[in-house]
Symmetry: C2
Subunit: 311 residues, 2 copies
């Protein structure tokens, strides 16, 4: 394999027509250029230039090498340009993942803003459950993932000020939104009688001890339901598992049971479903997961996401 630097010197010489001209063009002395060409000729064991009284003319081997050198030089400049495009967000790729309700309610707006700002960046979005996401980000299969976990307790803005932080797994976590979870019931469910008639009245988890549950089939949600009920001192009766909120809505309206429905999904509930806050309060903490050194595109999308979260 040839030394690319010498090849580029040869290219300059032949394009310029003389070693001296190439030297001034390259910022060298003619002697340096002459030496470079000479060693290249030694390497390929063939003369590459015929020395003329005014300047030089390429031999057949010289012309051949120059053609290749042109390609090489073109690639080198193209490579630099394209990397510049990448860092300037004029090009590139951003692979997103989110869970279903975030993909439907949280991301479209952010994606719209991002696309308007950086039309050159190719976006992709796939639906992934929170449990799959960290490994994919760590392995570089994803650039940014929207995930969540459950939080019992206040769920106020305690994490708002904390900003991005690197978790134990070497990933950056950025808080986006606290998604309050409701319980969704059929209109005349017994638990409603204990709670009161106002929509703002909360339903105590313990009053759902005998309810039949329609459960989101995502792993995190399944576990959370069991945990919540355990904290209230009972084991839930699971009547149904589904990952589709419209179907959940239909099942509730048919009186099959009750379900946990976060704010981000309430728009998928039918009109006859009754929604109430839970006591103790239950919150889905929605976060963005990103690599510790995010790409420019990842950082830009994070910026969009955090700037759009409600005050």
């Amino acid at each position: 394999m040839l030394d690319p630097r010498r090849l580029l010197v040869l290219r300059a010489v032949i394009r310029a027509g003389s070693m001296s001209a190439a030297a001034t063009e390259l910022g060298y002395t003619p002697s340096a250029v002459s030496q470079q060409v000479a060693t290249l000729e030694r390497e390929v064991r063939t003369p590459l230039l015929v020395r003329h009284s005014r300047g030089v003319v390429p031999t057949e081997a010289g012309s051949l090498l120059v053609e290749h050198a042109d390609v090489v030089a073109g690639r080198l400049t193209r490579a630099a340009d394209e990397v510049a495009d990448l860092t300037a967000l004029r090009a590139g790729r951003l692979r997103l993942a989110a869970f279903a309700s975030a993909g439907a309610r949280l991301l479209p707006g952010a994606i719209g803003v991002f696309r308007r700002r950086h039309p050159g960046v190719r976006l992709s979005l796939e639906l992934r459950e929170p449990e799959d996401v960290p490994d994919l980000v760590r392995e570089g299969e994803l650039d940014l993932a929207i995930t969540f976990d459950y939080l019992t307790g206040p769920g106020d803005g305690s994490a708002v000020a904390s900003g991005p932080s690197v978790d134990t797994e070497g990933l950056t976590t950025t808080w986006l939104l606290d998604d309050v979870v409701n319980v969704a019931l059929p209109p005349h469910h017994p638990a409603l009688e204990d709670a009161g008639v106002s929509p703002t009245d909360e339903i105590d988890v313990s009053t759902l001890r005998d309810a039949a549950w329609i459960r989101d089939s995502g792993q995190v949600c399944r576990e959370q339901l069991v945990e919540m009920c355990a904290a209230a001192g009972f084991t839930p009766h699971v009547a149904f598992d589904s990952d589709d909120f419209p179907m959940v809505s239909g099942l509730i309206e048919s009186g099959v049971g009750v379900a946990l429905v976060p704010d981000l999904a309430v728009h998928q509930m039918g009109r006859r479903v009754v929604l109430r806050r839970l006591r103790p309060r239950l919150v889905r903490r929605i976060r963005a997961l990103s690599p510790p050194q995010p790409s420019p595109a990842t950082a830009a999308m994070l910026e969009v996401l955090t700037s759009r979260r409600p005050a």
Copy 2:
């Protein structure tokens, strides 16, 4: 424009999956590789690798650069290979030029041999008169030219042993053949009576003082005719100029005049044309003209040409 050497180091790293592996592959220490990658990252102001616990993984910019690096590396090896093909005569080009009668009689056999020996070399042949040829060879437009000049006198093997020589113009001249010139006359031309009846009888130039000449229109031949006659003490009467020997033959047979016809062209004369040697003897000295540093293909063709000349 990026530094191609660093780019190739990056390529090795990403292909190997770790800096250490790339280092052993390149014959460097891991430290050297790390430093190269680090400076490349500084140059493009972007991380190119994400450092993992076991090895590294390319970032988007890194993958982009590797694609270009692959092309560059491919070109560098291809370039070396193709130059090797050129010097080994597995490829390349040989641009020949010759005057008409050499092209017809001298070259076809040599070209056949050459093609059989070096089928990868592309050959081209154009017809050129001797006066045009030196500049074209000097400028690199031709690789090898067959030319001639006239020689009065013995024309024996005096130049045979001398071999190739560099003439005053910086071109290499290789003697190929001495082409003896005949005079071609109509069957009952008066000059034949002075000479004798035997085909080996020579015709003295002075006996052609009153002849009408059909002259080859090439510049060298035209001048030579005048010079030869001047040496014999007269100026030739030129009746016709032609560069086509069959036509010359027809004109002679029609009794228009006489002509100079070298051995290489006698096969183009009609049966009724009478051919005799001249006194003083006139010889076309046929030579090959080549650049002072001939390409391998040129040298090979010269070898074929000289090895085929009659002993």
